[in-house]
Symmetry: C2
């Protein structure tokens, strides 16, 4: 990126917990002086929305005053909608960087695929806007974001001082511990982990069944180069993420061994 010293980068900030969540406030505070900040975030919680976009209904966008001296908009859509609307109708240009978060809860390993926070960052990267998604390993609305804010700032400073690929997208997770205990930043690969579902079956007052999604997170990956390993060992994990989903290894197999 390496902007000239005179022009501050334009930084779009979004999230998936909604514009009133403490996590996005911590992120705005952490990077406020590093660029011209514009917030466009969902008007309600949108966790687990993945890369959903709103195609069957229209979207609302309204200006709000939530962060001192920072232009802010709330949007009725998904985190991905927020990025698209921000570029086309708020900024009328591409921002220099897009930040998403700080999410209340982990987005390491397979969570990247369900996460609205990371989908917003991935959407930016598709649009050739370098992006970083931040998540704290603590679901609570009262979580302490001070370590997460500190590392968000360190990473944003690193990125804006370097010439970076326009499709850069980082999935950053921060352990929920005191900042003094954090051992540093580790570049990782996505661990192979998943949820083992166990729907909670209940009956409504009329006797009809309904189901709540619950599940247990299981890590099947013994690698020491994964995000799960790094977080378990008190590192901030950084996984570079791509939107080309082609499985090149399997492509080769299909073309040769399987004679497709």
């Amino acid at each position: 990126m390496a902007k000239s010293k005179k022009t501050k980068p334009v930084i779009l900030i979004t999230n998936d917990d909604g514009i009133t969540a403490p996590g996005i406030r911590s992120l705005v505070e952490a990077v406020k002086d590093l660029g011209t900040i514009v917030v466009v975030a969902p008007d309600k919680p949108q966790s687990g929305m993945g890369h959903a976009i709103t195609i069957g209904a229209p979207l609302r966008l309204s200006s709000v005053h939530l962060f001192d001296g920072v232009e802010s908009w709330q949007c009725s859509g998904t985190p991905v909608d927020c990025v698209k609307l921000a570029v086309d109708k708020v900024l009328h240009r591409k921002p220099d960087l897009c930040l998403s978060g700080i999410n209340h809860g982990a987005n390491h390993s397979i969570n990247v695929i369900y996460s609205g926070t990371m989908s917003a960052a991935i959407e930016a990267s598709i649009e050739s806007i370098p992006s970083i998604g931040f998540s704290l390993l603590n679901y609570s609305m009262e979580a302490d974001f001070s370590a997460a804010g500190l590392y968000a700032r360190i990473l944003v400073e690193k990125i804006i001082s370097r010439k970076i690929d326009k499709h850069l997208c980082l999935n950053v997770n921060i352990p929920s511990i005191d900042k003094k205990l954090i051992r540093g930043i580790k570049v990782c690969r996505q661990a192979y982990a998943k949820y083992v579902e166990d729907f909670d079956e209940r009956k409504d007052p009329s006797g009809k069944k309904y189901y709540w999604l619950t599940g247990e997170f299981k890590n099947f990956d013994k690698g020491k180069d994964t995000d799960v390993w790094a977080l378990e060992h008190n590192y901030v994990s950084v996984v570079p993420v791509q939107f080309d989903l082609t499985n090149y290894e399997l492509k080769k197999q299909l073309e040769t061994k399987l004679k497709f």
Copy 2:
């Protein structure tokens, strides 16, 4: 997979256009005799839902009689919810194969990331269930699915006759032309293409603005090994898809050049 001749594979079928869409009916008809079919699909259109899951609300699941001799359930959730619920509450086991579609509209290139059809297939692959998503390049509810059904059958037969990776996930797109004009099946990579958004701004009766997402699809990829190229040249495109989003090339750069 290569099941013994006596046991037919259990095939889970879902989609994102909803259980009453003509596309899922064509898919059921096309593969009905190749296995024991169980349908678990959304009770309403869920296009563009990406990998969304329902975490803030409970889910409903109800038995329906829509396909002759085929156990079928409609679910109030997203396509990914359907796969999760099917495994835990309908089948009480993993199916041998999961099919999704046939989608009304293209899911080639970047569409894979927004598509509920493909997210259902990817979810199955995360769960170690081989999967295929099928999409016809025609959005109409009156589209002719005969070529798509034929190629769906050819591909399912290929897969169930071979020993295949449990994480196999294929993104199959079928051109909307007469089957005689289709030149065959091509294994491809995902083209680098995206939408250039242009929100349609309108005013409601009280004068407040609202926005409809519209956009133009643009292919930036000149490669002859892409799904877009194959489809433009009348091939059925097959892109093997993965859920490890790690960008290994960028990981290397971050570790060396960028000194993370």
